[in-house]
């Protein structure tokens, strides 16, 4: 059977969760490890930590987060943000991460995907793609799919088709695509379903839909209409708006197979 995964995403800056977390019974709502354990207990299928630490002298803090998470969380977790080399990936995997996600560095040097997959296996190489619909003011011609890859946290347009890049990344050894719509991220209007469907249908590896979730119905849409294999969300979980259990109940009601929370 195919079972869709529900994945909460935590943005981590210098070892602390940002973007606000609002659970009443957390000792320290800014501690990523405590929050990860909470989501594990609630029935999350996996976790994604996005390291958005800007200052290079604090980058080691994420390794400590990984180490402490691996001691008490027994579901898979992915680390993304700032991974530029096989050595960066090795440090995080040896500390206990199950997968690393690469984004800007892979766009700039696609061979990085094959290097990580060759060294550690395709299963731990996630390629994160930030995509946005092409616009007239773009410095490059429109792409065939109408969706463009952005780098540097979604700030920099790149002359690269988002769907073609997903296909190329999978051929190079990526085990999974984490697809974020920059048009929808933060809007709470739901996933970009045409984008998600284009990428999911074009690739033979699993696709995680991300960006725009505002309601439980959006999660189900990502799977049913977007053809995604997993759905990622942040704010609807962080602010206690919905539990993982509610998310899975809604998906089950929509006819999707999930691991019960």
């Amino acid at each position: 059977m195919r079972a869709a995964r529900v994945i909460p995403c935590l943005d981590v800056d210098a070892g602390r969760v940002v973007k606000g977390v609002n659970f009443v019974d957390l000792r320290d709502a800014g501690d990523p490890v405590e929050l990860a354990a909470r989501y594990d207990a609630e029935g999350a299928d996996e976790l994604v930590f996005l390291d958005i630490t800007a200052s290079s002298d604090q980058r080691d803090t994420i390794v400590d987060v990984v180490r402490r998470t691996a001691e008490q969380v027994f579901i898979p977790f992915t680390i993304g943000g700032g991974i530029r080399s096989v050595d960066d990936a090795r440090r995080l995997l040896r500390a206990g991460a199950d997968k690393v996600s690469v984004n800007t560095a892979a766009v700039e040097r696609p061979a990085l995907i094959g290097e990580i997959a060759e060294e550690f296996g395709a299963q731990c190489c996630v390629v994160a793609i930030d995509a946005r619909s092409c616009r007239a003011e773009d410095p490059y011609p429109a792409t065939p799919s109408g969706f463009r890859v952005y780098t540097h946290g979604g700030r920099t347009p790149f002359d690269l088709d988002a769907v073609a890049w997903a296909v190329d990344a999978s051929r190079r050894g990526a085990g999974e695509v984490l697809l974020t719509s920059m048009d929808r991220d933060g809007t709470k209007d739901g996933f970009d379903l045409p984008l998600t469907r284009l990428v999911a249908d074009a690739t033979t590896i699993p696709v995680i839909a991300s960006g725009g979730v505002g309601t439980l119905a959006h999660l189900a849409e990502g799977v049913v209409e977007g053809h995604a294999d997993a759905v990622l969300a942040a704010s609807i979980f962080h602010f206690g708006q919905h539990t993982i259990g509610e998310a899975k109940a809604a998906m089950t009601a929509a006819g999707i197979t999930v691991r019960p929370a």
């Binding site: 027994f74 898979p76 500390a95 199950d98 085990g175 590896i205 294999d229 691991r259």
Partner: protein
């Protein structure tokens, strides 16, 4: 405390298996020391990445013979994911590479009608009861990440349905192996690992006596 040797041949994330075994009360050590493996109540062979690369790394660390000796001595033995696949004779992932050959058969690509890798939670269909499944809920969800699976049904004790029924767990004498990751399967996986540690302690190997040193 029950001493469990986790074979450390320098690949990927071995720490998860160690931490999960410690969580269920074992004195789990990452090791490439044949003496420590011999003294252990149970031996775990984890594995991530490509079949050929794992076999190369295992041989380079001389842990292929250590693993085979442990199996031959009758020590409770647990292979995980690629650690299960290495127990077979060969794999389509790395044609020409020789596996440990503890179990007969070839590790083959998953059907091309499904997304590869299978990267998801799936339900175990238990074919033959095994002590390692004792106390698991029904259905028992476990976390799978793999593009290949063993083709020989002889010792398969559980399957999962992904395009076809796939070998999810095998058990022959003292050798047990799972295609899924018990160390990443939440409470169910920890329960299975707890059963393994319990069985290893009961098997009466030297390491099942008083602890021979501090954990971690």
């Amino acid at each position: 405390m029950t001493l469990i040797a986790v074979l450390d041949y320098g690949i990927g994330n071995l720490r998860s298996a160690q931490k999960a075994l410690q969580h269920v009360g074992a004195d789990a050590r990452l090791t490439d020391d044949p003496g420590l493996v011999r003294d252990a109540a149970g031996v775990v062979l984890p594995g991530v990445g490509a079949f050929g690369r794992c076999m190369e790394a295992l041989r380079a660390a001389h842990l292929d013979t250590v693993a085979l000796d442990a199996v031959g001595r009758g020590q409770p033995f647990l292979g995980i994911c690629v650690g299960m696949q290495l127990l077979y004779e060969r794999s389509e992932e790395t044609p020409g590479a020789r596996g440990l050959g503890v179990l007969p058969g070839t590790v083959r690509w998953l059907p091309d009608t499904v997304k590869r890798p299978q990267m998801q939670w799936n339900v175990l269909d238990i074919v033959t009861p095994s002590s390692l499944f004792e106390g698991l809920p029904d259905p028992a969800w476990m976390y799978f990440v793999h593009s290949f699976a063993a083709d020989d049904p002889t010792h398969v004790v559980a399957t999962c349905d992904y395009g076809a029924p796939l070998a999810a767990a095998v058990h022959r004498d003292n050798v047990f192996a799972t295609q899924f990751h018990p160390e990443k399967s939440g409470a169910n996986g920890l329960h299975l690992l707890g059963n393994f540690v319990r069985d290893a302690a009961a098997a009466g190997a030297p390491g099942s006596g008083p602890s021979v040193g501090g954990a971690r």
